[in-house]
Amino acid sequence: METRYINSDLLIIGGGSAGCMAAIRAHELNPDLKITIFEKGDFKYSGSITRGMDALNVVSIPGLTTPELYVESMIKECQGIIDASPSYLMAKRSYDLLKKLEKWGVYFIHEKDGSYRTLKIHTQGSFLTAMEEPDLKTMLAQKVEQAGVKVFNRIMGLELLKEDKQVNGAVGIHTRTGHLIVCKAKAVIMTAGGLARFTLPNSGYLYGTFDYPGNSGDGYTMAFKAGACLTGMEHTERGVLIKDVNIPLLAVSITRGGKVLDALDSVIMEEGCSIYGYEGMVLAMEKGLSPLKIRLSHLPNEKIEEIEQILFTTERPIQKRFFKNRGIDFRKQDIELWTTEHQLCGGHGMSGLYINEKAESTVSGLYAAGDVAAVPKQHLTGAFVFGEVAAEQAVEFVKNRDKKIGLNSNQVNRIEKKRNGYFDSSGKEILVHELEYKVRRVIGDYVVSPKNVYKLERWLESSKTFKKELSQQVLARNGHELSRIFELENIILCADMSAKAGLARTESRWGRSHARVDFPERDDVNWLKHVLVQKEDNSSKAIVSYRPILNQLK
């Protein structure tokens, strides 16, 4: 199998919302820049926003809300574990972002008086701004292609190239053929998403996850192996979604008058509540009051039609078929909700690369944006804003780094050897999806809440066995299965990081996202700080360190 080499000024790993925005912005700032994107799926629709979106989740509209209020609200939602500057910057730039998108033709809903339609989902302030754009991703993809950016489809990032403490590009693998591609670059922007395939969805279907299942923690592990710090890995987050199909509808329905009820019809959540108030829902379920239900039948028909219109056309239109199959009419029946798989995500949760307000990671030449970066609950706005910020910083970085960049051929040889090892099928009989099922089931048993020392340490033991099984027993019959093996390797490594961080944080915080039964109380005296995970120099071991919260606005 041949390995191909390419050169670029800027490499973007991941062609979703953040990656597209980074490419567009970098081209705006320097049209001569050679930009390359590694995209794991097919670029036209890839990423978590496969098609479109019903809202720009965080917009601070002048005169209505302020960036300061947003930061205040976020500090509450994150129970203090959040650096103020990145979130502040995001809110500050959000209105200009909205205007830019609108200029591109993205449709935002206006009220009769001409103002934008905003909805309240945070504890304070109406930051959610209604949008109806089923073609968001295709619009972005078109812009990127017009900019002459080279997009390589079906390339999964494997490792960042590194020499002299500088990131020099990356190695990717073709998900169909198993060929390697080596891209030398003066700067890398990581936009590879979070880890959607962490524990099993309750359906047992490996790819039936809430977030795009191609997000298998590739960005986390690539950055980890390059020595970058990750934060919030102990925040193992779990959504409450439509039972079985795992599609979100909470924000859309609650903001338009829907109610969440428990099995005995007591109201748990309604309009005006923070949708981050999962706690009440989880408590009710633990008390045996599941399934929870969303009720819309009390709403006037035009409200229900509005909700249907949004749900059935923008983010995940397939749900129309789901409800039709089940014979559910929102006017008559309730919609069952259920807790589902846990995930690690910087956009919905707070796990990912530790970045500052310049989108810089802790490694020189590596920037991050979107779900892979820990700007807590940044959603789509964060992906866009930090995509732009990362591009601005990277373009500047590339300018000051015009000497020829080297290539660590030892690293490429090592990856080739590893790939060939996985591809050698002699004596192997286990199919990759079988091991993935087992791994994710055991992550669900040991790594997520309720957590305790025994369970977390037990995972670290099991993980050693899984790694051995992965390299010695699992078959790769084709390029597709080979890339699934690399994905599984990433899932296991992310679970290791999560377990290490979970062991370190000897308190309970964020409700069920980090509940230690051996340390059931929240401890603000000792634990108002980041738990960072990074690779020990010259070994592959994950070590934990701490960093104080930066409250100061920059």
Binding site: K40, Y45, R176, Y205, Y207, G208, I318, F322, H480
Partner: protein, 369 residues
Amino acid sequence: MLIRDTNIKVDRDRCIACGICVDRCIMDNLRLSVSPCRQVCPLHINCQGFIRLLAQGKDQEAFEVLEEYLPFMSLLSLLCHAPCEKVCARKKVDRPVQIRDLYGYLFDQKLELSQIEEGISKNKKVAILGSGPAALMAEWCLKRSGYDVTLLERTEEIGGSLRIHMAESQNHHKTIQTLLDTIIATGVEIKTNIGTFDYNATCDLYDAVVITHQSDGDLSRLKEQNRLDAKRLQPDQITFQSADNKKIFICKEFSEELRLVNALANGKTIFESVKRFLTGVPLGWERGFWEAQGNEKSYMAPFEKAKHVRLKNKQLSDIGTREEVLQEAERCLGCGRPFDANQTCWYCLPCEIDCPHSAIEVQIPFLLR
């Protein structure tokens, strides 16, 4: 291996096995099982696709399936050795579909493309030595992508070995002349009677140079004239790039040994290589028709009867009337189809949305239904 439909339902009547859904899948789930006719065609022409549309009376859409090869269609209907017909699965029922005749019929309809995309000028110059089918195919594709092309021909007129066939019949003459006129109309620069081909000077003048040659005699003359040793002109087997000078691409022309359709396929290969070379994409990346493109030959669709398949045999040898064309087209079994090879569907819908013939329906996977 047999295909099992899980949650991706394919309407075999509408599907033309174009493979767009396979490209669009963001979970690398779908694969295209390729029909035997398309498998053996050196150009990988989607015979099944245009025949299915023809059977539905959609002549214009059928015509557009063949858009890439357009000026060469009539040539193929005359001179192609039709390997597709030799492997046609319909043989198992009665006799193969007369693919070449359907080609010819479609071309005779004098249809025009509904939309002609003009390539934006790339400001790059490509010289092509020779003007036979491979050279013309490379020229047609490069020109359409916005490159400035110059044809360098040793003799007085362009056409290369096609000129020999012009003498065969009135029809041959007319068809080949129409092709040459179409090529000239693309605005290509043509230099005939070039005499000695100056290898080094041409390389200096152009961004890429394509050498097509008919016989080994052509090649040795070239070597002699420019005092090159044989090794220098050795091209890569897949990309046709010469080992000596990355700017040079060498391929063999249509000749006694090489079939016309292979020569045209060589022209396509040259086009792809030159385009990649001039835009900085690795030449060998995702090359070939199979694995990287998501095409499969080992999986075969079970013998499935679509509504449009006419099973009753009617002996036909001459396709003249429209009625006869429809009847013949309806005989195609439609072997190729997409299928969910990896069962990693996230039910996100791009395959369905981008299907030009609304042939795909994504259902909720069974475990979640």
